[in-house]
Symmetry: C2
DNA sequence: GAAAACAGAGTGAATGATCATTCCGTTCTT
DNA sequence: AAGAACGGAATGATCATTCACTCTGTTTTC
């Protein structure tokens, strides 16, 4: 039985993800990450250059997984409204299904890490949402506003609400998801 | 020339506010707060029990100032739509005029402090936005959704956008404010 | 095929850095 | 001069990171 070193790497990443989701970056010492992953502290540094690199790796992986999943059924042949509604709905369901990932990403984007990452994303130009927005604008289906503003109208409400959901103030069910998505679309459409 | 002890208290609070806004909680050591406030480290502990108490005091003060200011012109006699638009517009302008306060509050509400504070607010029931929402719902002017959801639709977009503004990705001018507020209203109204 | 030598993953005590907080000598106020 | 206010070095706690060592599986030697 060959020891798969990916196994330990994964265990470290999962332990860190869980801890950061539950306690935040600053209450997730490497010692605890190592303990929860069932490895020695030194082992973390065999797989990651330092703690930042570990966090970056987790972000990269979760972000990719998220984007892939929520756009999985998206097709340029569908009507724009349908596409928006499907993608938003997927996003919300995903976030609710994987609360630890949501919390991690939320923390990440609210930290100094996140700002730089966003800057990178924007300049590299591979933003599937941006493309969808641009197309919808060219068809005069949604308001002709800066993409940042459209992003805000589309995602702001749910990001806001997610905190309430995670904190336990509300319970988001399928019916509510439908209504939220509709309301966001109302804000977006011409 | 009498040394007013309130003066030092204020200087400490302002220094902490600025540092936290610019660098976050965890890059704002008491030593630096003291230095920027022009006082000794020990002095901070004459005015605040500990660092948490200092942060709570800053929150309390900035939050009160914010609420007072954005509701200053609000009157129950005005039409609901006008009231929403005025209050939102005030909020956005305030946040843009005082970016350090905005950043501080954003950090605060994204930290463990903030969650507890929100819980407190909700149970105490003194939420002027909630009242406005309830009234508008009773008049069938806005969608009949849970207040959390309405809050999210109303404030989510701007909170989201504010980060972009502060990070320098966009420049929010008066025309943009008007459009954002309209879009939020579109999401809210029946 | 057994024993010896090696390789390198894994470990966690030790290190050094950074903080919040305290404590006591100094400075101001009355 | 007494007492309050102040300053900042000292303290003790918490971390990320390192590094000398162990352990296990593999290769070489005879």
């Amino acid at each position: 039985m060959k020891k798969n070193s990916t196994d330990k790497r994964t265990r470290i990443m999962n332990a860190a993800l869980d801890l950061i989701a539950e306690n935040g970056f600053h209450a997730s010492p490497t010692s605890l990450i190592a303990k929860n992953a069932g490895v020695g502290m030194g082992t973390i540094y065999r797989y990651f250059e330092n703690k930042d690199a570990l966090i970056e790796a987790i972000h990269q992986e979760t972000h990719e997984k998220l984007i892939t999943e929520i756009f999985s059924e998206d097709s340029e042949k569908q009507p724009v409204r349908e596409r928006f509604i499907r993608v938003f709905t997927n996003l919300i369901k995903y976030m609710i299904r994987y609360p630890h990932i949501s919390k991690f990403l939320e923390q990440y984007y609210n930290s100094p890490y996140g700002i730089d990452k966003k800057r990178e994303k924007l300049s590299s130009g591979d933003d599937p949402f941006g493309k969808l927005m641009n197309y919808a604008k060219s068809q005069h289906i949604i308001k002709n506003l800066d993409n940042h503003v459209l992003h805000a109208i589309a995602f702001g409400p749910f990001i806001f609400l997610l905190k309430d959901h995670i904190a336990g103030f509300i319970q988001i069910d399928d019916e509510m998801i439908g209504k939220i998505v509709e309301a966001c679309w109302d804000g977006l459409k011409r």
